[in-house]
Amino acid sequence: MVAILQAVFSGLALGGIYALVALGFNITHSTTKTLNFGQGELLAAGTVIAVSGVMLLAGKGMHGTLDPQDVTLWRYAVSLLISVVVLGLLGVLLYYTAVRPFIGLGGLSWVMSTLGFGIIIQNTALAIWGPSAMVIPSPLGDNVIRIGGAGVLPQEILVVAASVVVMLCLDTVMRKTKIGKAVRAVAHNKNAATLMGINVPAVVVLAFAISSSLAGLAGLLIAPITTASVFMGLSIALKAFSAAIVGGLNNARGCMLGGFLLGLVESMVGLWHAELREISIFMLIILVLVLKPEGLLGTRVAEKV
């Protein structure tokens, strides 16, 4: 019982990460029908940048080791901010170099170009940081908190709290503010949005910036639980995409739901048979695709003939 409760907590933390990245996929997909296949590499780059930020702030240089007392909450927060800003800029660069030239061309060229962009980012990061994993202690310490007998890491609580807060904020912005409504208008119909006087290209660039920033945020949130490395991104991004498919790529709330669902499935299956985690996720996607190809909360888009 305790083990199950524990798995639920770590599943929720994982799920929060997937949900954030999935939300990033949803944002670019709903505005441009494209998404970044190099998102994982961006996530990893953002994370190692942030970890280095913490090191530099703690006066440890680029390649030091971080002790728990080095990672104060403000250093963590400042680094997070840096990583989010850098990734936002990378997102803009990604849009201009790898997405915009290929929008509307057949053959999914943008899949290849965003993948290529990701590989370039990854190898640039590899040249700077090297392949080994970097350990970053949680800013909240490692003292396990007992909830109903199950031990929960403070970082796990931070992950869940932070991801839920960010998602609630985004959801509110999208539903209540003028700019959010403009973004939804662009997502629904670009021509009609232009007729409202909305600067559609600017909204699209913003979408890519936000999407990448979310990946950076997710990376630094999970790093104290796993580790930070240049290679950490692929599997997170893949599962986040799976989450988006499960929940519905064109529905933001669906993507969040899918994220948490996938996190829980992964951690529950891991409890039972660790090596079946990946397969179970793959099976879940196939099941969803067979039963409801548009995703749990997604809507089917009719193709015009």
Partner: protein, 241 residues
């Protein structure tokens, strides 16, 4: 009437790949005028409207608004200049409320909340049903109601020129009557209108002048009454000889 027309289009050409949708169209709309553009399906009417709003690029020719060349201006900036369009097929934002749709119409304006609220009231005076549906999501309304919303949304930008692209499309006959009633009211208020329609009779009944577009060319133009009496119009639509 001032010398400078509100809208002046000179020899405009628009292409979609191999297809030449507009083959050198020239028209003028003066302030306070209601001008209609009639023609069958595929004549290029909607393409013309898109080109005026900057949704389609021009291959050649010029689009002038109040004497200013706006041929290369991005679409969203043209709205700020005062060109609003109520597009073909309404194109409201179905997942947003009626109120949000109307507010998006005023998106580019830096007006005070009170001014916007006053403009909302002005729309309700013309379209009382929108007040009742204010917090309903727009996609749940009937086609005719959506058309009303789309016109009101365009008016929220306080346009100097309103482009109406086939407002009667896919509407039941009674609703078409209502829409043309609204167009008459707009005319009475002195709004400059360019109306694209397939319903030639009604469009010419409300317009001052008309153009007839066929396969990308203007083939007839003149006063609305004269056009209305022209037997060729009937022939073009029903294939009578």
């Amino acid at each position: 009437m001032a010398d400078i027309p509100t809208l002046r289009i000179e020899a405009l050409q628009v292409r979609y790949g191999a297809v030449e949708a507009l083959k050198g169209v020239s028209i003028e709309v003066h302030a306070g005028e209601v001008v209609t553009m009639i023609g069958g399906n595929g004549a290029g009417k909607s393409t013309l409207m898109k080109a005026i709003s900057g949704l389609e690029g021009a291959a050649a020719g010029r689009v002038m608004f109040e004497g200013r060349d706006i041929t290369r201006m991005p679409g969203h900036q043209r709205v700020a200049l005062g060109i609003a369009q109520c597009p073909e097929g309404r194109q409201i934002f179905p997942d947003q409320t009626v109120r949000d749709n109307l507010m998006l119409g005023a998106y580019h304006r830096a007006a005070s909340a009170a001014q916007i609220a006053a403009d909302l009231e002005a729309q309700f005076a013309v379209f009382p049903l929108l007040r009742e549906r204010l917090h309903q999501s727009a996609g749940t309304m009937s086609g005719g109601e959506q058309q009303m919303l789309a016109i009101a949304r365009a008016l929220m930008s306080r346009p100097k020129l309103l482009l109406l692209d086939e407002p009667s499309l896919g509407l039941a006959p009674l609703m078409v009557k209502d829409i043309f009633g609204v167009i008459r009211q707009l005319k009475q208020r002195g709004i400059t209108l360019l109306l694209v329609e397939q319903m030639a009779n009604q469009a010419l009944a409300v317009a001052d002048r008309g153009y007839v577009l066929e396969t990308g060319n203007i083939i007839m133009q003149g006063g609305a009454r004269e056009l209305r009496r022209d037997p060729r119009i009937r022939a073009a639509y029903l294939g009578e000889h």
